[in-house]
Amino acid sequence: MDEPAMEQQELLAAVVSTLKSIAPEVEESDLVADQPLRAQVDLDSMDWLNFLIGLHDKLKVDIPESDYARLRTLNDLLDYLRAKVT
């Protein structure tokens, strides 16, 4: 397996585990990657902030509030994080 795909898997795993710490009922298989994430998982502003803090702690990325609007779907988030961690 090539390098980027591996990274993608690790990122996805990190995102899903962080999401599950906020919303334990979430199943990875239920997530639709190109649909708005917050609506799918019912994350209110507090959940969303805690989710981003979780990602910040896990991946050491800083996500300024001005970037929130770009992070609509799971795919958006993965793309964003990949650009930040590499």
């Binding site: 919303a23 334990p24 009922e25 019912d42 209110d44 502003s45 507090m46 902030l49 805690n50 981003l52 803090i53 910040h56 800083d62 996500i63 300024p64 509030e65 001005s66």
Partner: protein, 394 residues
């Protein structure tokens, strides 16, 4: 002697199940100390004592379901010794029939000394009881004894084990129980409280810009949510309009000096809980953010304190995250008002004769007509709006 009773933990809770004691006979109890953990249909609540003393007797066993007002334990006041007070007669306890109403009937202090007066706070435990407790993993010190001199008998341990099993088996019913509790409180609200409703469109540009600029300077862990600005604005408005704050009890409004705002928190597994953040008007936004984060976390984990459950003086509910424009709230008795916030959306707005696009939100008020009128409510809501126009002063 001080009787420590199960306090009311909100209008939708009239009984609870003692999960465990956090104190033992002989312990000194301070004001605000958590003395027991009581399971309600909504959360495991850390019950605090508001009196000081030394624990004399524990009268209820873990696993027992008791009504609000039931004496859970007795404390010795300063100057009292075990020799000067008499143990509470076992028959005053709720014992096995939790549904038999013993609400707020305090055990008479001068119970006939059926048993010899306890001379020491050391527990007496029958050897069989001790052995059985060890096998079952039951903390014998946390049990109230029914034997002579308050001794813990084998029966006490067996009963505790049985009650624990029952409590564990009852867990799946929690959802249904919570629904029932909410139903009872909201039915009471709609039956007893003549609600009136007002709403006000609040321009949010200033608050949004201030918050964005403020958060830009903060690390992610210190960021504020708009909810903290809303809570503070409501609290400051309440200082000016105290008729919105407090309780309606015994046929009259009892305004509260303190401003403890109940925050409606939806639970992921369903249901709702609205514990208080205390003294909101006196706290900085940073402190409110820390308190709110902690409260939401603990509410969802099912671990709250009795004071948070029993003393909100007004509730705020924010359904904006769900895309709702306007909240038509139901007042949580015995409170006298509820403030709702909808989502912030961009809308056409006219300022100085010119049309522009304005981020705005609907703030709504449900208030008790027995206490206030629409005019007063409107002034209060306008004050909330004005406070949100000066976010730097919140």
């Amino acid at each position: 002697m001080i009787e420590f009773k199960l306090p009311s933990l909100g209008a939708d809770m009239d009984k609870g199940t003692l999960l465990r004691w956090a104190i033992r006979p002989g312990d000194a109890v301070k004001r605000g100390q958590v003395v027991a953990v009581v399971d309600t249909s909504k959360a495991a609540v850390d019950v605090e004592s508001w009196q000081e003393g030394v624990v004399f007797e524990l009268l209820v066993q873990p696993g027992e379901t008791i009504e609000v007002g039931t004496v859970l334990a007795t404390l010795l006041e300063a100057g009292e010794t075990p020799e000067t007070v008499k143990p509470t007669a076992p028959k005053e306890r709720t014992d096995k029939a939790p549904d038999v109403s013993v609400t707020s009937t305090p055990a008479p202090l001068a119970a006939p000394p059926a048993a010899p007066i306890a001379t020491s706070l050391r527990r007496r435990v029958s050897p069989a009881a001790r052995k059985h407790a060890q096998e079952q993993g039951i903390d014998i010190e946390a049990l109230a004894g029914t034997g002579p001199d308050g001794a813990v008998t084998l029966q006490d341990v067996q009963q505790a084990a049985e009650l624990r099993t029952q409590a564990q088996a009852a867990a799946p019913d929690k959802q249904a129980q919570m629904r029932k509790a909410i139903a009872a409180a909201m039915s009471r609200s709609k039956r007893e409280i003549p609600h009136y409703y007002l709403s006000e469109t609040v321009p949010m540009r200033k608050a949004q810009e201030w918050l964005a600029a403020s958060n830009e300077k903060r690390s992610i862990t210190e960021r504020l949510l708009m909810a903290t600005l809303q809570l503070k604005a409501v609290a400051l408005a309440l200082k000016k309009y105290p008729d919105m704050n407090g309780f309606y009890l015994n046929g009259m409004h009892q305004p509260s000096q303190a401003i403890h705002i109940g925050v409606a928190i939806s639970l992921r597994q369903g249901g709702l809980i609205a514990p208080a953040i205390h003294e909101v008007a006196e706290k900085s936004l940073d402190q409110l953010m820390r308190d709110l984060t902690d409260l939401v976390r603990r509410a969802r984990a099912g671990s709250l304190r009795s004071s948070e459950m029993s003393d909100p003086t007004l509730t705020v509910t924010n359904l904006g995250d769900q895309g709702v424009d306007t909240v038509y709230g139901v007042i949580y008795p015995p409170q006298v008002a509820l403030v709702g916030f909808g989502r912030i959306r961009e809308m056409p707005w006219v300022t100085d004769g010119a049309l522009c696009v304005m981020p705005a939100m609907t703030a709504s008020l449900a208030a008790d007509h027995r206490v206030s009128d629409g005019h007063y409510g409107a002034l209060f809501l306008a004050e909330v709006r004005e406070r949100l126009q000066r976010p730097e002063q919140l």
